[in-house]
Symmetry: C2
Subunit: 506 residues, 2 copies
């Protein structure tokens, strides 16, 4: 048996075992995984620095985000509202005829294959958001390591797998595989029930099409490309120095290798930010790019943008090859809205690295259609406005951005993604392949499927659906007779029964 | 401009307009559509009878189910919990550093293309479950009419479109297109954001692959094939007459042309049901099949099953061709579990029509693995057991059925799908292409996407996310400081704020 075959076999067995483990134990295992990573921070951070070129403060923050994420998902598991429990009481008076007892709960989909990202070696990698969400859902996870940080991936996988097993989770709850070939083989294997991916649009589209073409297709949750436009209204364009400094900081952090890096800054014609941007860029030290593939891709996109007609350079930046990798400083260019439209083939694609395009627009009333036509799918879109901004087209712009992106910001910068219940880190294609957020507690929904139980005696029901509610989770009940009022616009007639704070624990 | 082009253009405009209409108005429009259909029942039922061959009581029941469904979705809209509103208060003490106000709501995906089914000319057609769910979500719907009931489709579309417009919905909220070519063209059109389908596995797989291969892929929610196995434990096999009568009724209702028809009945060896089944079948009158395509498919599947080795006929049934269509009486065959495994290629596929296979099994302990290995994806699975059943393998069987189907029944029969909050009418492939129920209130989730608003002033927020909560919907709030407790397994710290029962109405 190959290592891959063993991993898939173990994942399949773990799926059955894991789904029968009580939520509190699964939650405690997630906390144990977080503790194990925090305890090994001083060992892991230097490995991550060496393999990715990312700076220590960034990596320490990212590891903390990763362990907070595991702890948050532990709370989600205990809370139980993600199970969306619905109980329709048996109803002899049901409007369409007598109806048996019907109960529905979200159950884990089965083994999840997670293609790790290069740019977040902790938070979107072995023990990152997709893994945390899938484990919280009750799914075993097979992570395909990103080749950009293999040693870190193995160490994190060892630490997390050991912590999960010590906490009582089955063997095979978290496993690592390596290499593109094994990743594809696993994606096509019938034992894999869903896949998650963070990476390039090219690779993501290819893998998504493989997932869709299987004899049994599976969902493929890919987070691909995003250019995160930022729109500055005329009344907000005045503070050139602070605007330029914050813009350059957001573009250059982690050498611009973030899914949420602002790739476009729209400013009114004649906003005159060049000098301020140029000054801000001169303060940014060079930063190593993650790996040769990203360096090559960045160089190609940067060449295409610099070579497009009607583009002027504000700060050209440098790209320096060394034995230790490729180093870059930020490149910022300026163009007009008209040129952006004319040169859209050269300019619109994501440039993954420290580059951004300042676009001067003649009239803010045009921005809503710019958003709709040129930026149809993004993770984020941002508007900078002044307090009491008189710009009449703002509501239309916000509306357009909400249709074309997953997160709309007013003020601030899109880099920095909070791990909280209300986060959405997904968006229309190509931001994500089929919707669903990969950050925040709603991410768990991607790895669940609904199952209804009709007329099933309590002894054979999952604990989540029992009237005695041993897991003490929210249950929404539709009482008999509720259907008589449907059509009166008074509500479905379900009521949420919150759990007792004390009681039996399973 | 072609009719199709006009329909797609109208759907795109309607999407923007519809998303700005207050929920109460949208809900009232759904009720108006239901009223319009109820008012035209005496006109519509005869058309449906003529075009489908289905019986009047069945069609009257189905129309009632369809209008109840619209009324239920109106309640879902008013209730607002489907919006899953999450409000994370700005938090200077957030565990990963100060965090702005973040609010998330589910918004409509945009125009939905709904491929109507042949077998439910009301409930899974022009104004059926997919349409009701999509309209409730705030999405305009383009229905591709099923060619089996064109006149009925046009009349229903006219009635519903007029009712929706009279109730203030934009032109293009519900539209009908006809013909396979227009259906495919629409599926590939960039203005369509999601598709729903109920029909054959062959057609569904083809359309799903088209949806996945678009430059911008869209979700394709197909409900395809299901054989709905029923397992009778030894202690429940005693009541031969009542078991046989109920089984035959479930197999032959609507001439077996139901997605939930039990295609397999597992009984203990020597259960001796043949005579009782034969008697029950002899009472079933012949029934017209829906259309020539279904008749041809049924004949082919029936021939394959009758021609397989090791299959004996309990009731052979008849197929009679007339100028008015093809008529059939039920065919029930019997085989052994061993033969079923050996002849799986001939026997396991769905036979859409009044045919079912009785399978004698030697040992109930084998049924869980039978379910997993032979029936990996079904809408339903049923177990018949006696009260206090001593069968030790029952929990394993229920567990296997919950992994391989969307609805697990104990007792009763899978035909007859309640339209309620806890229904799940979906299941692992090929039951559905990518999960998600097409019946019940959870069906709305397929046509929504999450959008987060970060730091957005109240005046620019959607009403659902405002602190003054003008739509009076549930909002889940995470207060500042909640993150300090993450990892203590006391819960996420969000709390549901239910709406005031009186207040401003938007």
């Amino acid at each position: 048996m190959t290592d891959l075959e063993q991993a898939l076999e173990r994942a399949a067995s773990a799926a059955a075992a894991l789904s029968r483990i009580a939520p509190r134990l699964r939650a405690a295992a997630l906390v144990a995984a977080a503790d194990a990573l925090d305890a090994r921070a001083d060992e892991l951070i230097p490995v991550a620095m060496r393999e990715t070129g990312l700076a220590e403060p960034r990596l320490r923050g990212e590891l903390r985000r990763t362990t907070v994420q595991l702890r948050l998902f532990a709370e989600v598991v205990v809370d139980g509202s993600y199970l969306d429990v619905r109980i329709d009481e048996a109803d002899p008076d049901f409007v369409l005829g007598p109806r048996p007892d019907l109960r529905r709960v979200m159950e884990p989909v089965g083994p999840v294959l997670n293609f790790a990202a290069s740019n977040f070696p902790f938070a979107f990698s072995v023990a990152g958001g997709d893994t945390a969400a899938a484990l919280a859902a009750g799914c075993p996870v097979v992570v395909k390591a990103h080749p950009g940080h293999p040693e870190l991936s193995r160490r994190v996988a060892d630490a997390v797998a050991a912590a999960l097993e010590s906490a009582g989770m089955p063997v095979g709850t978290l496993q690592l595989i390596e290499g593109q070939e094994d990743g594809v083989t696993a994606l096509l294997d019938p034992r894999v029930s869903a896949a998650a991916f963070t990476g390039s649009t090219t690779a993501g589209v290819h893998l998504a099409s493989l997932a869709a073409s299987r004899p049994v297709p599976i969902p493929f949750y890919g987070e691909l490309g995003s250019v995160n436009p930022v729109f500055v209204t005329p009344s907000a364009a005045g503070e050139a120095d602070s605007l330029a400094a914050a813009f350059v900081a957001s573009v250059s952090g982690s050498a611009g290798q973030l899914c949420t890096k602002p790739g476009f800054l729209f400013v009114p014609e004649g906003a005159g930010l060049d000098a301020a941007i140029s000054r801000a860029v001169s303060d940014v030290p060079e930063h190593r790019l993650l790996h040769p593939g990203i360096a090559a891709g960045y160089r190609a996109r940067r060449d295409a943008i610099l070579g497009a007609g009607g583009v002027s350079v504000i700060a050209e930046g440098a790209i320096r090859e060394t034995d230790d990798g490729t180093y870059a400083t930020p490149t910022i260019v300026r163009t007009s809205l008209r040129t952006l439209i004319e040169e859209r083939d050269a300019l619109l694609d994501e440039a993954f690295g420290p580059l951004s395009i300042v676009v001067e627009y003649p009239d803010p009333a045009a921005l809503a259609s710019v958003a709709r036509d040129l930026f149809p799918g993004n993770l984020t879109a941002t508007v900078h406005l002044a307090e009491g901004d008189p710009e009449a087209s703002l509501p239309a712009l916000i509306d357009a951005l909400a249709r074309t992106s997953g997160r709309v910001l007013v003020g601030g910068w899109p880099t920095g993604v909070a791990v909280t219940p209300a986060m959405e880190h997904g968006g229309p294609f190509p931001a994500t392949t089929q919707g669903g957020t990969s950050v925040g507690t709603a991410a768990i929904g991607r790895f669940l499927r609904g199952v209804a139980y009709q007329g099933v005696p309590a002894a054979l029901l999952p604990p989540s659906l029992r009237d005695d509610n041993p897991w003490r989770i929210p249950q929404r009940r539709t009482p008999r007779g509720a259907s008589a009022a449907w059509g009166t616009l008074t509500g479905v007639g379900t009521s949420e029964v919150l759990p007792e704070t004390t009681g039996v624990e399973a």
